[in-house]
Symmetry: C2
Subunit: 437 residues, 2 copies
């Protein structure tokens, strides 16, 4: 008789943790992902700002599970579900299961303005990161060559929308690039004159953090020269400008680089589960799950991570952070093994280990329980925890060494502009007869 | 009175060397490149096979010259030349010069079959390397999922056209990937069964090397399971097959991955120089230069590196290798400084320091003067020389550590398939009713 089949869709924090914890179980485990690697998203902003290379934060899924003889990896794009037949339907095949774990995560949304996506890239995938990197470093190149002062100013103006950890980290890194990394690189412009704005609709940065840490983070951003605009909502994004409104009024500024770190919604598979299983979705499209992380009426189907809406207390649903996904992944693996052994399982209980975000060199905020830390100690903890959590040992070593080097030299060695630049960079009539470049 | 302006087009080995050697001269130096980084091409095949990340072999041009206050970098695409007005015409601007150094290198050609380029990528740029990487690792993924035995075999067949150093190094690396790196990664296929063919129209691999080293390289390839076909010319490239002919007959084999390491020709700027300056071109489009590396009738214009045809002896023109470009770059800088001081310069004389190519771990061939080495000693020399020649110190350290890690673990940590895979990977009817993936 063949062994029970567990299919995990999604090799992110949640799905990969489940897979790894089932490596010794008497099961057949199939991990399905449309990419061949696990991506350490917390450090994606460092790829986007040229401090790390993609390979340093990506782990090939096959390498991670290769010693697990019961586990196989399938590169496929899951599109639909045959709930009665217990099959995941991919674009070019199908995967039968006895137990299914869906962990396909979240994606960005643009508050009803999908046309903004092409103008203001978000930061979810490796390609997002290299695209942002490209735009950021191209902006300085174009500014160096632009004879028109107004257009030059637009190239040297960067706007980040969304002041959660991603937006704050991007803003801080951008400021360091302009103030330090590139300071001697140009001959016409002074990159230290770059203007960096960080916008958010709520009243403080890092709104999910304790208020005192939000305030410290805002001050650290200020010291780096980042202009923070809270209670500010974006009203329009164009190729060369962004418009926003706040209680103080409306503004439209010229900018060529807008980065989107706001608005998260569930991945498309959420809607599929709702349709096929009658699962309830929340306002962000996340699948509402039982305390056991299963879909109501379908104990054989687990949904975890950013795709899941798991509300166990009056505090509301668990946040879409890595720790939640990892703990749920571990829980699901344990539950599956318990079921095999005929044991009952307790509901999932999240242990909030805290939050952390970095603003720049020597500046971070960390909350662990009641402990609130900021500044250098927080920064060191941030480094330590992130390195430890990288999945592959060689990534940990590589990142550690890269960081040590970057720290000493202020360098960002991976600041390549990949892909042919979109020449012409400079347009329009020249302002005088003198030839220029 | 303003200082003399030296404009260098191309930040490869030749152009960058010239720029670095003029850092202290009483000149204004402008380095023009359409990319913002210098690429260490000899190690590009390692990015293509997932052993190194792009950032480890690329150096941002601005970082390399940032301490040279007389040097500026312009990100632009040089398209044309105004010889009388002494201006380089870029797509979106112009750069005036007193002295011009053109070092835009070479590109691949497909022997009159430009339509093969989309099917059989070559290896000149970072994007080429990540495209090849993508196709190689996708091939194994598709094979793992393909139920049809014939189509699976095609996915596991790799053909490399051109057995110069690039082709040999690609073939050896591919063989190592199949035999070692991926050996435990798959559950349906055995990657060690991959078939790797290396084709060349001439009668031996590494035809520019001494015959005994060619023979040793061929034997090393054989030990890795690479099938070497010499005196074999490609007659057709299709999406799922390649056809070739040799004195033994014609053959057509099913393959989904053809890599092009043959056929080099000069970059497009060669034709521009011919038209604007009346410069002579050779059969490969390279600009024929005087012994002083200048264009006949234009002592203010130097052409160096792969773009130049420099024939000082009856042996024929200097080969398109890095050492030639670097030495010419150094020579041109010295000549320019000599001219400033009113000194005459001797013609350029190339010092052939030798050749080297690697086949795989512990297997390389090195020729230095009359010294011919193969095996482990050659391999260590190859590693040493390549690391030393990386432009930035942090690249040297990173590559050294990455290699040390790869060696110990047989890992290739950068084997990401970037970009959304081209689903469907599996097409066609299934061979039986049983569902499969």
């Amino acid at each position: 008789m063949s062994r029970p089949r567990v299919v995990i869709v999604g090799g992110g924090f949640g799905g990969l943790e489940t897979a790894r914890r089932l490596g010794r179980a008497p099961l057949d485990v199939t991990l399905v992902d449309r990419r061949n690697f696990h991506l350490f998203q917390p450090l994606l902003y460092q790829v986007a700002t040229g401090a790390l290379s993609p390979g340093e934060i990506a782990s090939p899924l096959r390498a991670v599970v290769k010693r697990q003889r019961n586990t196989r990896v399938v590169l496929a794009s899951a599109r639909d579900l045959d709930a009665d037949g217990r099959r995941v339907l991919c674009e070019d095949g199908e995967v039968p299961y006895d137990t299914l774990v869906v962990a396909t995560g979240a994606q960005h949304h643009y508050f009803g303005h999908p046309q903004w996506e092409a103008l203001a890239p978000s930061l979810k995938t490796i390609e997002d990161a290299t695209e942002i990197r490209r735009r950021v470093f191209l902006a300085f190149e174009a500014a160096e060559r632009e004879p028109d002062a107004g257009r030059q100013r637009a190239w040297l103006t960067f706007v980040i929308v969304g002041a959660g950890p991603t937006g704050v980290e991007l803003a801080g890194a951008l400021a360091e690039i302009a103030r330090e990394t590139l300071r001697s690189d140009f001959r016409t412009i002074d990159p230290r004159g770059a203007r960096i704005l960080l916008l958010d609709a709520v009243d403080r940065v890092l709104p999910t953090f304790p208020a005192d840490l939000s305030a410290k983070a805002a001050r650290a951003l200020g010291r780096l020269g980042v202009e923070v605009r809270t209670r500010t909502r974006v009203t329009d994004v164009a190729a060369d400008a962004v418009a926003f409104a706040s209680p103080d009024g409306a503004e439209r500024i010229a900018t060529r680089t807008v980065l989107w770190a706001a608005g998260v919604e569930a991945s498309a598979l959420g809607a599929v589960l709702a349709e096929r299983l009658g699962a309830r979705l929340d306002a962000l499209g996340r699948v509402v799950v039982e305390p056991s992380c299963t879909v109501a009426g379908h104990p054989e189907i687990f949904v975890i991570g950013d795709l899941a809406h798991h509300a166990t207390s009056s505090d509301g649903p668990l946040p879409g952070v890595a720790q939640v996904a990892i703990q749920q992944g571990r829980y699901v693996a344990r539950t599956i093994v318990d079921r095999l052994a005929g044991r009952a399982s307790a509901p999932f209980r999240y242990r909030d280990l805290g939050s952390m975000a970095t603003i720049g060199r020597g500046a971070a905020v960390v909350q662990i329980g009641r402990l609130h830390l900021a500044g250098y100690p927080a920064w060191l903890i941030w480094l330590f925890v992130h390195v430890l959590n990288l999945v592959e040992f060689d990534n940990r070593l590589a990142v550690l060494l890269q960081w040590a080097w970057n720290y000493v030299t202020w360098n960002r060695g991976a600041r390549l502009i990949t892909g042919e630049p979109p020449f012409p960079l400079v347009v329009g009539p020249k302002r005088d007869d003198r030839v220029d470049t």
